[in-house]
Symmetry: C2
Subunit: 463 residues, 2 copies
């Protein structure tokens, strides 16, 4: 429960409670207004300042602000920041957790949940339930069901060039779970530090730190992580196929260099292949793991290719690491056996390939539409990164990021700034991360129009 | 990887590796025979001695022995113990992990997996998938889907007298997961020790110890745990409705006493209601939690009522504990959202009640048949514990436990001794724990006959 006493803008002491950071912040702000601690007309801290103060992401703050603006507690006006609404204290008490207003989430991590393949999934579930041996309904192998591990070994070899046998595949409830297993295994072997890319999700860096590991950063450029700068770490966490979120692939030279590093130092490469299925211009380069299965732990997930709701992911570990990973995973399976059986059937029946192919076409088209729309509405915005994955980076003219984020929030668009994913909290450029996979087909055209309009207006206003 | 140098029987240095204790032990023993370190005719350590030496359960050893007997590496003969077979070194190399021979598992933890309600479950899955909002396919609330938490709050109140609102229910992947969340929450609040009943599963005691807690034992008698002996602990883990595995309920006096203890000391009661749905003679007494929701954490699971394969369990926590539990659970949901939605639909549609009612009738009948069969075949065996749950305790005449276990293993019956569940490893009586829910309907009659025959023969031989 972080406490904050910020000095910029309103004098704002907040105690966040509850389980959702954003909901907790929204509640705390609403209470502050309602109780009169924040007086009508007073200015709230800049989102960047409050975020830093509370140790939360800036989008958490901007979303809280936007929600309270929508509820009428706050007002946001160009040039005057966010303020407590004049009528706020007289308002009737809204429910503590109001139904969120419609908003289109374009932050990374969201996905087009409407695309969940309900009918093929259910058909696979029926076949899996029909054919499962009775014993399958028990506690199960803590490392995962053999059916799924076998299906994945074939699939990963075919599609990602992963070298694997089912015995080295471990099923986990998400990349987060898999990474925590590896973190504990590395600690158990005396590992001290795991390097991470300078851009990425706080969540994973925090996980490694919580496991007692140092987490030094390696810089990232348009050739991916600068792996030549690796020093004295037990492992490095990389997104080689498509750096998250900057969107570049690890170059061939650096692929070779990091494998050399691993062989020379005995270090381990943790390959997060979160969106390896989604490359639009050509066949994606194979997994690093295929080049040296003894030095790479490969991570894949169904969260991007199907849906996070499955809570199924997988990793392929070097044989010698397996006992430590198994010890970390414990003696009890934690991943739904039914989902494992269904996913195995979904893969082996070809339904998974069909589903991924369909999503790939959709996402390729959306990315092209995004580039075209921005070219028309805001030609000074540059879309960077490869033709791949579920999000694009929009490089903005200097000084326009903050107004663009504000304008987007007013339009009900939830967008992240690139700086939110920069671990050292230094923003070297104005840039947004737009997850073009995150809205449903029916909402896409309108969302794209709104986004183009936001960026056109921002440019017109600020230039 | 425990190393053992046992002094009873053969000189036996074993290094266990791999992920399954039993498989690892079987492999190590087979290698020892194959390599000649164990010579033909030599006697193996008594299972009790080797189990103590390796720190594994005795059933692990007896099952390993039985498997190697079945493979022909070892021989077991009444009165001469287990020995290396004469022909062992000349044998062809068997596969390292042979297909297990057919065996009827009567140990606690197994269940009648054939009873999984495939058709109703699939129907619920279809309805859940049809009606789920798009947003349900995302990462989800780390504490669990609201649909399931709401369904459980109603169900637990109706069936177990649990006082709950959905906001205090936390979905977890099993009791093991829920207990680990509480262990971490208790540690975070400075808790030092959690008492456990002197009989129970090693797994849970080890989990608490791994979390850095002391785990003192409280004795158990026919009135349940002797809670009057609680001293200086932050919490106590109890199975009040049906002590596992001895089979007695916590008496009304002790229920009152432990609630008094909790109120007086600020201690917490961890109520493991693992089989609360299964009472055969009368309506089960309600959950302790209903009497003081602020001092009791209630745990329930789908593992006994439906199947472990779901990997879904739940706990109801006192409000003040919720933030610490949420922090321990982390920011990412780990339990299949699809299974949560399906289980919610399964419960609210009444399918869960129907399924439980059917299983209850089956298990009640089996328990009665078990008592009747033993009364005929081995009247000196006493079945103790309440008419409840999924297993019964069979009290044997002194000195007959070891021969009974050996005879059962020869017949392909996997049975546990009561002593395996006694944490202080002191065996004060000869007794078996028989899980009468663990075999399929089609195998039940034959299994019961075999068990009766084993006990009849044991008695005839040893008396």
């Amino acid at each position: 429960m972080p406490e904050s006493q910020t000095n910029s803008g309103a004098d704002l002491h907040l105690v966040l409670s509850g389980t959702g950071l954003r909901a907790g912040l929204t509640d705390a702000l609403r209470d502050a207004v309602r109780s009169g601690r924040l007086t009508p007309g007073s200015r709230l801290p800049a989102s960047r300042a409050l975020a830093a103060d509370l140790g939360v992401s800036r989008s958490t703050v901007t979303e809280s602000y936007a929600e309270l603006v929508a509820e009428g507690w706050l007002t946001a006006r160009q040039g005057s920041g966010t303020r407590v609404a004049r009528r706020a204290t007289a308002a009737v008490q809204p429910p503590r957790r109001p139904t969120p207003r419609p908003a289109e989430a374009l932050m990374p991590g969201a996905s087009d949940f409407a695309s969940f393949p309900r009918a093929p999934w259910l058909a696979a579930a029926r076949r899996a339930l029909d054919s499962a041996p009775h014993g399958a309904f028990g506690y199960g192998d803590p490392l995962g069901r053999p059916e799924l591990r076998t299906a994945l070994a074939d699939y990963l070899s075919r599609v990602r060039g992963v070298s694997s046998d089912p015995g080295r595949i471990v099923i986990c409830s998400g990349f987060h779970h898999g990474l925590s297993l590896i973190a504990h295994a590395l600690k158990a072997r005396g590992g001290r530090a795991v390097a991470v890319e300078a851009y990425g999700l706080d969540l994973y860096r925090a996980l490694l730190a919580d496991a007692g590991l140092e987490v030094p950063l390696i810089p990232v450029d348009e050739h991916g992580a600068r792996v030549g700068e690796l020093r004295d770490v037990a492992a490095v966490l990389l997104t080689p196929a498509h750096q998250f979120p900057t969107g570049f692939a690890l170059s061939a030279e650096r692929r070779a260099a990091v494998l050399d590093w691993a062989r020379t130092t005995g270090g381990l490469i943790l390959e997060d292949d979160y969106d390896g299925e989604f490359r639009y211009d050509r066949k994606p380069v194979g997994a690093l793991q295929g080049l040296d299965p003894d030095r790479v732990v490969y991570f894949g997930t169904a969260s991007k290719s199907i849906a996070p709701a499955l809570r199924v992911a997988w990793m392929v570990t070097p044989g010698p690491l397996l006992p430590d990973v198994a010890a970390a995973k414990g003696r009890v399976e934690t991943v739904s056996v039914l989902d494992q059986l269904t996913l195995a059937e979904f893969i082996t029946s070809g339904a998974f390939d069909r589903h991924v192919r369909g999503r790939r076409q959709t996402y390729r088209r959306r990315r092209e539409q995004l580039i075209a729309a921005l070219g028309r509405a805001a030609p000074e915005v540059r879309v960077t990164g490869m033709a791949a994955g579920l999000q694009a980076v929009l490089e903005l003219p200097p000084g326009t990021e903050e107004p663009a984020l504000r304008a987007a929030a007013r339009r009900g668009l939830k967008i992240s700034s690139l700086a939110e994913f920069r671990h050292d909290a230094m923003s070297d450029r104005d840039a947004l991360v737009v997850n073009f996979s995150a809205v449903s087909d029916s909402a896409w055209d309108g969302t794209l129009d709104a986004l183009a309009e936001v960026l056109r207006a921002t440019h017109t206003t600020s230039v």
